[in-house]
């Protein structure tokens, strides 16, 4: 892979300007949903053009290459025996080099569980994982303990939601990055520190030399998350797993972190899997959306296509329940009636059927197969047509 830390790498515009540029694009996405009938081909929102640029730059050369992440029929069951909780029920996911994908869903949809399975972070004693995970040639589920430790952090690494909790409180941030580098490479402390300093400059931490010697609790939330990103990139991984990296941050810092992630992804050719329940955040980084519900990916496709033209009723309901710029003052925010299913007692049919406005008797009986809607767009639903047609009918309620 390319050296991620060459000083010649292009420096990016300072973040305030970038944050400003992101503002209108985010609101453009918001308004785009309210006029959902616009043809998919229209080149409109700022995020979409950015996303197209990325795929243009990478796809011709990389289309033939095997995917860097390939997950097949992943199942994760907690607490096997007494009352098994089926957190993930057959997830298939393919991510190519340099591609970013967002796993979207509410709490308990299995998105974080899926992500953590990619590093096998679940307790071995209380979890049963089935299926297949291949990441950059590593069959993750059959790695020995030693090989697993070598793989973690070096091939794929993770950014956590709350860096204050995910960093060891009694070591300085610099020490933790140096430790990580020296865990995977034979390199002196001085050289590792030099690299940690470069990483801090790269994630644009001001006065990096001093910050290396700071403890996690001495930094602000945004700085901590930047340090966490530096830590995750310390061993030049190919795959970056981001577990709600902006949820714990306030709004202005969120944008900066998202822009940083997008920029690093492009410069380093990283594959990013980004877990979030915040679509506004997902839109900023992800070229592709995978919407999860009750441990399954119910709809998957290019960001723009899924946002503009959702074909699974759950995705549609999610889009409608967002607050966005076009909302009239005093209008009620649409919400999804009912509550998510009990993961210990999943229904035989579609898990969303109980809350779905398009559901028919058939939905409660059989598990719907994925319907291929376009080259990259799929939805697991037997009423995808009704969903597409039903959209304008529900729309007036939110405007």
């Amino acid at each position: 892979m390319t050296d991620a830390h060459t000083p010649a790498a292009p420096k990016c515009p300072p973040s305030p300007a970038a944050a400003e540029a992101a503002g209108p694009s985010a609101s453009a996405v918001g308004s785009a949903t309210s006029t959902a009938t616009t043809p998919v081909t229209e080149p409109a929102a700022g995020f979409a053009t950015a996303a197209t640029k990325v795929s243009d730059a990478h796809s011709p050369a990389l289309a033939s290459e095997p995917p860097i992440v390939s997950v097949r029929d992943l199942t994760v069951t907690f607490n096997p025996g007494k009352r098994p909780i089926k957190a993930v029920n057959g997830v298939d996911l393919v991510v190519r080099r340099g591609e970013s994908i967002a796993l979207i869903g509410e709490s308990g949809s299995g998105k974080s569980v899926t992500l953590r399975s990619l590093l096998r972070l679940h307790s071995e004693r209380r979890t049963v994982i089935g299926g297949q995970i291949d990441i950059a040639g590593h069959a993750v589920l059959s790695l020995s303990n030693r090989a697993l430790a070598d793989y973690r952090g070096r091939v794929a690494s993770m950014i956590f939601q709350e860096p204050l909790l995910a960093l060891d409180p009694v070591y300085t941030v610099g020490a933790q990055i140096i430790e990580s580098i020296r865990r995977h490479e034979k390199i002196s402390v001085a050289d590792a520190r030099k690299r940690a300093l470069e990483l801090f400059e790269r994630v644009r931490i001001p006065s990096p030399e001093r910050r290396l010697d700071a403890y996690p609790h001495e930094m602000s939330g945004g700085m901590r998350q930047r340090a966490m990103i530096a830590l995750a990139l310390a061993c030049r991984p190919q795959v970056l797993l981001a577990d709600e990296p902006t949820t714990a941050l306030d709004a202005t810092v969120q944008i900066q972190i998202l822009l940083l992630l997008r920029e690093l992804q492009r410069e380093l050719g990283l594959a990013i899997i980004f877990v979030t329940h915040d679509m506004g955040a997902a839109v900023e980084v992800a070229e592709r959306f995978a919407v999860m519900y009750a441990g399954r990916i119910v709809e998957e496709g290019p960001t723009r296509e899924v946002m503009h033209n959702p074909r699974h009723p759950y995705t549609l309901a999610l889009m409608q329940s967002r607050a966005h710029g076009a909302m009239a003052k005093g209008a009620r925010l649409a919400s999804i009636a009912g509550s998510p299913p009990d993961l210990a007692a999943l229904p035989p049919g579609c898990a969303f059927a109980g809350r779905c406005v398009f559901a028919e008797p058939r939905c409660h009986e059989i598990q719907p197969d994925a319907v291929q809607l376009s080259e990259l767009h799929r939805a697991r639903c037997i009423r995808t047509d009704a969903t597409a047609a039903g959209m304008p009918r529900i729309e007036p309620a939110t405007v």
Binding site: L121, A166, E179, R183, Y215
Partner: protein, 317 residues
């Protein structure tokens, strides 16, 4: 760091003064005439007066307190009524013996307590955990003088491999770190170590279980750390609290070993206190308590400073 140390030391001064006042007060309001033990029953009033004046018991409590403190600051704790020797000499010889016993006992207790605690915390809810927890509960709740006597019966009386009482062939003053002396230390130290062992084991178990449940352990795994590497992080996170508990235990053992020192006739502070109480030797009693209390305060100071250097989250301001 130096300023911080200075401030901490200054903070302890009022505590020390308060402690000194309390121990003076407690000794003086307790019933009993200090001179009864050395005066013959038929002593004349005249002689009684004379002795009262000699020891200063006829002055006001305030005067007595001030003069006692003033002389204590200069290293003079008065003269023992029972033996006529300087209290300071008696106390410091006893403190040395007790410090040795308590130190060894705390080290044994800390080592096994941490061992059991780590094992129990790592393998929580397994049979190892239950065994270690049972052992630590036993350690805290078993009567120590009883355990001491049982050990004496087994090792001194039946097996005859360890001496039962005393502090070595040369008496209390001539301690050397050789087997002839150390064998006297083993039984009392083991008996005494059972208390801190139980407490430290329970503390460390809770600490380790708590640390292992924290997100940063997942973070360490996610960056490829091995179990050994993660263990070192757990140790550093657990160390400040475990050391604080150990320091407090050492403090308790310094003063709270009357029973064990009596069972083993160990010439330490507990033994000294015991005899001072029975002989109504006020200067000796007062001096011993004061020195022990000062040790406790200093130990707390040491633990605080140590904790601050180990855990960066504790502010130095």
């Amino acid at each position: 760091m130096f300023l911080y140390l200075l401030r901490r030391v200054i903070y302890t001064l009022p505590i020390m003064l308060g402690v000194a006042f309390l121990c003076f007060l407690l000794v003086h309001i307790s019933p009993g005439d200090p001179l009864v033990s050395i005066l013959p029953p038929d002593a004349s009033i005249e002689l009684q007066r004379q002795l009262m004046t000699l020891y200063g018991f006829d002055r006001s409590y305030f005067e007595q307190f001030v003069s006692w403190i003033w002389r204590a600051l200069q290293g003079d704790l008065g003269t023992s009524i029972a033996t006529g020797r300087p209290v300071a000499d008696e106390v410091f010889r006893a403190v040395g013996n007790t410090l040795m016993l308590a130190g060894v006992a705390t080290l044994i207790g800390f080592f096994f307590g941490s061992l059991f605690g780590f094992v129990a915390g790592y393998f929580r809810d397994s049979w190892v955990d239950r065994a270690a927890s049972a052992l630590s509960v036993l350690g805290v709740s078993v009567p120590h003088y009883w355990l001491g006597m049982v050990l004496v019966i087994i090792f001194s009386s039946w097996l005859m491999i360890l001496p039962a009482t005393g502090a070595g062939p040369g008496g209390s003053g001539a301690w050397v770190w050789d087997w002839a002396h150390v064998q006297y230390l083993i039984l009392p130290a083991v008996t005494m170590s059972v208390i801190p062992m139980g407490i430290i084991a329970r503390t460390v178990r809770a600490l380790v279980a708590d640390i292992l449940a924290q997100e940063f352990v997942v973070g360490l795994k996610a960056k490829g750390m091995t179990d050994v590497g993660i263990f070192l992080h757990v140790v550093k996170n657990a160390a400040p609290t475990a050391l604080a508990v150990m320091g407090l235990q050492l403090g308790y053992l310094l003063g709270g070993s009357i029973l064990i020192e009596t069972v083993f006739s160990w010439p330490g502070t507990g033994f000294l206190l015991n005899s001072a109480i029975f002989q109504r030797d006020l200067p000796l009693l007062q001096g011993t308590i004061l020195v022990l209390a000062m040790f406790f305060v200093l130990l707390n100071l040491l633990v605080d400073v140590l904790q601050t250097t180990l855990d960066p989250r504790i502010q130095r301001s």
